[in-house]
C-alpha cells in the first residue's frame, strides 16, 4: 500500500517535472535506521518520515527538477551492521544519509561517511560523535550537552538543590549525559556528592542507594532508562531515602510510573516535548500528515528531528543549486536559525545542533505529566 502511494507520487512528480526530470538521474537520499531489533519502532519512524517528506517533495517536482530516491538500510541498532549499511549507502551514491537512531550505530558509520564525503544527519547525541570534528556530521537532536546545561540550571538555580548525586548506567548515551550533567552542575556551583554507575537490568540498586543515603542528597539525578529509573525511585522510597528523583529524557515512558508504583508521583523528568505537544505550525502540519499517511503518531520526537535533518539537506540542495558535497556542507554549517519542526536551530562547526527546547516535567499521581519549568512553550 505504501508502495502504491509512492508510485503514484513518483508518477505525479514525473508529470510535473516534465522532460527535464526524466532526463536527470534521481537524487539518492539514504536512510540508515534500526528497522528491526530493539529500536525497530523508532527506526521505522525515521524511514516513514523520510519517505513522507521525499514523496511530498517529489509531488512538488522534486529537487532542482530531479526526483528524490530513498534507499533504506536496516542497521538493527548494531555497530557491526551499521558499518555494513554505511558502505552500502556510500556505494549507492547517496548524497546524504538520515539516521541512525542510536549513537552507537551512528558512531560506527560516521568515519565511513566522512571518508566518502557523504552528509550524515542523525539524532545520535553522544559527544563522541563530535570528537573528530567530521565535516559530514550534522547532529539533528539536541545534544547531551544542551540537556545537561538545562538540567544543571534547573537543579541548581531553579530548585536550589544543595547536595546532588549523579547515577548512570553503562550505556554510551547515559554515561555521556551523566558526565555532562556532572560537569555543568559543578560549573553552575552545585555540589555533586557522588557519581556512580549501575548495571542496567540488574534490578537490585539498594546497595548503591544505601550508600547514597548516608551522603544525604537533596536530589538524585539518573541519566539511564525508565526500567531502571522506575526501580531506583521505588527502592529509594523503600529505603526511606527522601531525595527528589530527577530523570534524564530516557525515563519518559509510561512504564516508569507503573514500575515505580506509588513512589512515582513527584519524580522529575527532563526532556523535550512529545511530537504532538510541539507548538510550531510546521510541526503540527507534519504530525498531521504523518498520522494520515501511517495511521499513528510518530513514535518519538526523534522522528521529527531526523525529518529536520532531511529538510535542511533539501533546503541546502535548492539554495546551492547542486549536490556538490563540499558546498552543501558549507551551506549547512553557515545556516542560521533554521526553522525546524523541533524549533529553531543551527549547526556549529563540529556539526552540533545549537538550540533546543527542554522542559522539566513532574510525574503526577495518575502517571501523567505536568510541565513545571519553564512555562509550556507557546503558552
Amino acid at each position: 500500500m505504501r508502495k502504491t502511494y509512492l508510485g503514484a507520487a513518483c508518477a505525479l512528480g514525473l508529470l510535473a517535472g516534465g522532460m527535464q526530470a526524466r532526463a536527470a538521474a534521481p537524487i539518492v537520499i539514504g536512510v540508515q535506521a534500526p528497522i528491526t531489533g530493539a529500536y525497530a519502532e523508532e527506526g521505522q519512524g525515521i524511514e516513514n518520515a523520510v519517505k513522507l517528506l521525499a514523496a511530498e517533495q517529489n509531488a512538488k517536482g522534486g529537487l532542482l527538477g530531479r526526483q528524490i530516491e530513498v534507499k533504506v538500510c536496516d542497521d538493527e541498532g548494531e555497530a557491526a551492521q551499521a558499518a555494513i549499511c554505511a558502505r552500502q549507502l556510500v556505494s549507492a551514491h547517496a548524497i546524504a544519509v538520515i539516521g541512525s537512531y542510536t549513537s552507537g550505530a551512528a558512531l560506527a558509520a560516521e568515519p565511513i561517511y566522512a571518508r566518502a564525503n557523504v552528509i550524515q544527519t542523525s539524532d545520535g547525541t553522544s559527544d563522541q560523535l563530535l570528537a573528530k570534528g567530521y565535516k559530514t556530521w550534522f547532529g539533528n537532536a539536541a545534544p547531551n550537552s544542551a540537556e545537561a546545561e538545562f538540567t544543571a540550571k534547573y537543579l541548581v538555580s531553579v530548585r536550589g538543590f544543595k547536595r546532588i548525586a549523579v547515577l548512570s548506567d553503562h550505556s554510551s548515551f547515559a554515561t555521556g549525559l551523566a558526565q555532562a550533567v556532572e560537569q555543568d552542575l559543578k560549573a553552575a556551583g552545585g555540589n555533586v556528592v557522588a557519581t556512580d554507575y549501575i548495571n542496567a537490568g540488574s534490578q537490585n540498586f539498594t546497595p548503591v542507594l544505601t550508600r547514597l543515603k548516608a551522603l544525604n542528597p537533596d536530589a538524585i539525578y539518573f541519566s539511564g532508562y525508565y526500567s531502571d529509573g522506575g526501580l531506583i525511585r521505588a527502592q529509594m522510597q523503600q529505603l526511606g531515602l527522601n531525595a527528589v528523583f530527577v530523570g534524564g529524557d530516557a525515563n519518559q515512558n509510561t512504564a516508569f510510573a507503573k514500575i515505580a508504583g506509588p513512589a512515582a508521583a513527584g519524580s522529575i523528568i527532563i526532556n523535550v516535548p512529545a511530537p504532538q505537544d510541539l507548538p510550531y505550525p510546521a510541526a503540527k502540519e507534519f504530525v498531521a500528515s504523518y498520522q494520515k499517511q501511517y495511521g499513528s503518531l510518530p513514535p518519538s520526537v526523534f522522528t521529527l528531528t531526523n525529518a529536520d535533518g532531511l529538510r535542511a539537506v533539501m533546503q541546502a540542495v535548492e539554495k546551492t543549486g547542486g549536490t556538490d558535497p563540499d558546498r552543501l556542507e558549507a551551506y549547512l554549517h553557515s545556516l542560521k536559525d533554521f526553522q525546524g519542526l523541533t524549533g529553531t536551530f543551527s549547526w556549529n562547526e563540529k556539526g552540533e545542533r545549537i538550540g533546543s527546547p527542554f522542559v522539566a516535567f513532574e510525574v503526577q499521581g495518575d502517571g501523567g505529566y505536568k510541565i513545571l519549568y519553564p512555562a509550556a512553550p507557546g503558552s
Binding site: 555497530a79 557491526a80 558499518a83 555494513i84 552507537g104 560506527a108 568515519p111 563522541q128 570528537a131 553503562h170
Partner: protein, 307 residues
C-alpha cells in the same frame, strides 16, 4: 575421502568464495567478510575447546583485546593498521597465556566459570574507560582503513579479500596443527590428561600454549573486526558472543575444520537469510541447538576418527 583430497576440496571452495564480490551484491560481500572474521575466531576457539578440550566460555575477550589493540594504537598513537596487527596478536596471546596459566589446573566446569568471569571483567574494564584509552561504552570510533603499498583498502570488496586472505592463512595453520606434535599433544590431553602426562606431555605448558595460540589467532581476527566496523565498543565482545563461539564449535564438530566453518556459517550467515523472521530467529536457534545435539551429539560434521 582422504585427508589430501579433503584439503584440495577445501582449497577449491575457498578459491570459489574469493569470487563472491564479483557475483553477489554489496550487502552479501559485507556479510561474507564478517563471516570470515567470525570463522577465524571460531577456529581459534576450536584450538582451545575443540582440540585441547579446555572449556573456554570467554573467548570473545581475545577477539576484543585484538580489536581494542588495533583501535587504540591506530587512533591514539597513529600506527598504520597493518603495523597494529602483530601487536594485536601479541597482546591477545599474552593475555590468554597469563590469564590461563594460574587456572589451567582447574577441573573443566570451574575453568568454564573462571573464563566467564574474565569476560565479565573485560567488559567492565572497557566500559569504565581506565586511563581514558578505551572510550567507555561508546568505545573507539574512526579507525583507519589498512593501506597496502600505498593502496587504501577502503572498499568493502578490498576488505573482503583481506579478510578471506587471512582466513586462508588461518585454515592452513589449522591444517598444520593437525599434522604436528603440538597439535597431537592437544588431542592426547583432551582425551586422557593423565595418560598424556605419563607419556611425557607437559600438560600445563601445552594447555597454556594452546590458550595463548587460540587467543592470538582471535586477536588477529579482532584486528580485522575493528577494521571492518571502523569502530570498536564493548557490546561486540559480551558473554553471549562467547557462548555463540562455544556453541559453534560444539554444534559444528569439535576439532573438525569443516565442522567449525559450517557452525560459523549457521550462526552468522543463515540469520541474514531469515532477516524477515527476526524475532523468531533465536527461538528457532534454541530448538535447532537442542535438535542437533540430540540427533548428532558429535556435531554436524564431526572430525574423522582416523586422521
Amino acid at each position: 575421502m582422504s585427508a589430501t583430497r579433503m584439503g584440495l576440496a577445501g582449497g577449491l571452495a575457498w578459491l570459489l568464495c574469493l569470487a563472491i564480490p564479483a557475483l553477489a551484491g554489496s550487502a552479501w560481500v559485507a556479510i561474507f567478510a564478517t563471516f570470515a572474521i567470525y570463522a577465524i575466531t571460531a577456529l581459534s576457539e576450536d584450538i582451545i575447546l575443540g582440540r585441547a578440550g579446555i572449556y573456554d566460555m570467554g573467548h570473545a575477550v581475545y577477539l576484543g583485546i585484538g580489536a581494542y589493540a588495533t583501535a587504540i594504537l591506530n587512533t591514539a598513537f597513529g600506527w598504520p593498521i597493518l603495523a597494529t596487527i602483530p601487536a594485536a596478536i601479541l597482546a591477545a596471546a599474552l593475555a590468554g597465556g597469563l590469564l590461563s596459566a594460574p587456572l589451567i589446573r582447574l577441573r573443566g566446569d570451574y575453568l568454564l566459570v573462571a573464563t566467564i568471569g574474565f569476560n565479565a571483567i573485560f567488559i567492565l574494564v572497557m566500559q569504565n574507560d581506565p586511563g581514558g584509552i578505551t572510550g567507555g561504552s561508546d568505545g573507539i570510533a574512526g579507525i583507519d582503513v589498512p593501506a597496502l603499498f600505498g593502496w587504501q583498502l577502503a572498499s568493502q570488496n578490498a576488505l573482503f579479500w583481506l579478510d578471506w586472505g587471512v582466513l586462508g592463512l588461518a585454515l592452513l595453520l589449522m591444517r598444520n596443527l593437525d599434522r604436528c606434535e603440538f597439535g597431537r599433544a592437544l588431542r592426547y590431553i583432551k582425551q586422557d590428561q593423565l595418560a598424556a602426562a605419563t607419556l611425557g606431555v607437559d600438560t600445563r605448558r601445552v594447555k597454556t600454549l594452546a590458550f595463548a595460540l587460540g587467543a592470538g589467532l582471535a586477536g588477529l581476527a579482532g584486528s580485522l573486526f575493528a577494521v571492518q566496523l571502523s569502530s570498536v565498543s564493548p557490546s561486540s565482545f559480551v558473554f553471549t558472543e562467547s557462548v555463540t563461539l562455544f556453541a559453534i564449535v560444539i554444534v559444528g564438530g569439535p576439532g573438525s575444520i569443516p565442522g567449525v566453518l559450517l557452525g560459523a556459517a549457521l550462526m552468522f550467515v543463515v540469520p541474514e537469510i531469515f532477516r524477515d523472521f527476526a524475532q523468531y530467529r533465536y527461538f528457532v536457534f534454541g530448538i535447532a541447538m537442542i535438535a542437533v545435539m540430540v540427533l548428532r551429539p558429535q556435531g554436524l560434521w564431526p572430525r574423522r576418527r582416523a586422521a
